[in-house]
Symmetry: C2
Subunit: 296 residues, 2 copies
């Protein structure tokens, strides 16, 4: 489930309120471009910054705009009762699945992480994607932890960090992950900078920030990888390199916000304070890189 | 401001609801034992796990129970508008000051941290304590960042992590911090395992988890340090060593919860899921250590 390109759009704010129309445009644009699923609100969708009601409205609007494209609802929160409330709202809104990152303030033990997933999978029959984000949480999934969590019912896929290296390296990484998780669990990677390699290596899902703001380019890149069109793939990754080099130090959310703001997809600064956007030079780099990719 | 022993009690939950009576007992107990201030909800008070209304009720109840002891209200949250709402509620509730940790999901840049403190200090005239918690946030304060933030108006003190080493080491660390922050800003340290050394070295404030659950012992320890009573100080730190050794790997919040649960100060498991408490062996260690300290 959720194979292919999964787009993670921003949840744009305007004057500290969720701009549902702007969110709707991003989702509709991704669906029209041919992404295979849409994830809202994810990390890029600033899920952890939103209230329960804001999150519910984001999922409802995304389902309305996504047409036949399945919507994966991010349900992560610090407190299990909030996670369960988000899962309830996601089911009510018609989400096709739920995405759970083990967010922490007090660092979680492995047993606490397993307990969180067990509490959710016992109570919520929706397909669940296990989400590791080492950048934003203190949780790194060991093989043992990944095996314990993916053995729970309703787990359909994992979202793990992109792997560095060449195609052989990532192929080996995927083969190793295959020995860790059950066969029915899809293996997907985030980290747009590693996406081309991961796609060629045969990853099941590309969990993509890029596809939330530049869906046409992301879909072209994934199709070039699938079709073995090395020339197009290389031209796209070369064009996108300056943009993707910004993601590591500045975070995908800030890069996506800069592009969405530049293109008028959102109404002015769209991140929740205290987050600031890119500076002017970084914005120019991201914009030029995106435009170069669209000319490929 | 806020010099001496500042107690950070739990915000006990029962069936996923804040048990205001149990919180009231902890605050009243700390005040009766002679602590100099009470901080609610802090990291130990699981602030980040609570709703705005829960946090407001915790501060209101603490003010009611603390008598003449000033209450410092924790206002940290991911979104600046929530931080400001908590500050508003703290002022309404009669808090003497506010404590702000720069919590993050997307890691904050230094400029974003300064922006957060600037947004709050521009709008809220309450005395503010700057709070660094490297364990639970991704923000480490460099000297430059600490200087920029403590130069803002209304900043009265800092809460920085405890420093390892002997009295000479910590004295040197305090002298260095004195060159970084303005003279009117108090320097306090958290980290109960380092407290005895920090107190002898002359720290302005001991921000103490221990004082939230074992206030009598914490106050005795601080007085022994102040009075140069080396025999009592040594006996207390020896007795507390097994308990304090648990804090590093397991977190002060779990140790405090185990003690409060054992002593009937709270009604059953009191941490928000997914947090679990200590295991049975760890609980026994903590309880025995606390009792040994009380026999000193």
């Amino acid at each position: 489930m959720f194979a292919g390109v999964s787009a993670f759009p921003l949840s744009p704010l305007h004057d500290d309120r969720v701009d549902a129309d702007a969110l709707g445009r991003l989702v509709a644009g991704a669906a029209a471009a041919g992404v295979d699923s849409v994830g809202v609100p994810g990390s890029t969708g600033v899920a952890q910054y939103l209230t329960r009601d804001e999150r519910r409205r984001v999922v409802v609007r995304a389902v309305a705009e996504a047409g036949d494209v399945p919507v994966l609802a991010g349900i992560g929160a610090l407190r299990t009762s909030d996670v369960l409330a988000h899962a309830h709202d996601a089911a009510e809104a018609g989400a096709a699945g739920i995405l759970l990152v083990p967010t922490s303030y007090h660092p979680l033990t492995d047993d606490e992480v397993v307990g969180l997933y067990a509490d959710v999978t016992e109570r919520v029959p929706l397909p669940l994607v296990v989400y590791e984000n080492r950048r934003t949480t203190s949780v790194a999934f060991t093989d043992d932890l990944l095996a314990r969590v993916t053995a729970l019912p309703h787990v359909v896929a994992v979202k793990v960090p992109g792997a560095p290296g060449d195609v052989a390296d990532v192929t080996a990484r995927l083969a190793h992950l295959r020995t860790v998780v059950p066969a029915h669990v899809g293996i997907g990677m985030s980290g747009d900078a590693f996406a081309a390699t991961a796609l060629v290596a045969g990853v099941d899902t590309w969990w993509s920030v890029l596809a939330g703001v530049l869906p046409g380019t992301a879909v072209r890149l994934a199709r070039a990888a699938r079709d073995g069109d090395a020339a197009t793939l290389s031209a796209l990754t070369d064009a996108l390199a300056p943009l993707l080099h910004l993601v590591g130090p500045r975070g995908g959310v800030r890069v996506a916000a800069a592009l969405a703001e530049h293109r008028g997809l959102v109404d002015g600064p769209c991140l929740p304070r205290p987050l600031h956007g890119l500076d002017a030079a970084e914005r120019a780099t991201a914009v030029a890189s995106a435009e170069a990719a669209e000319r490929v």
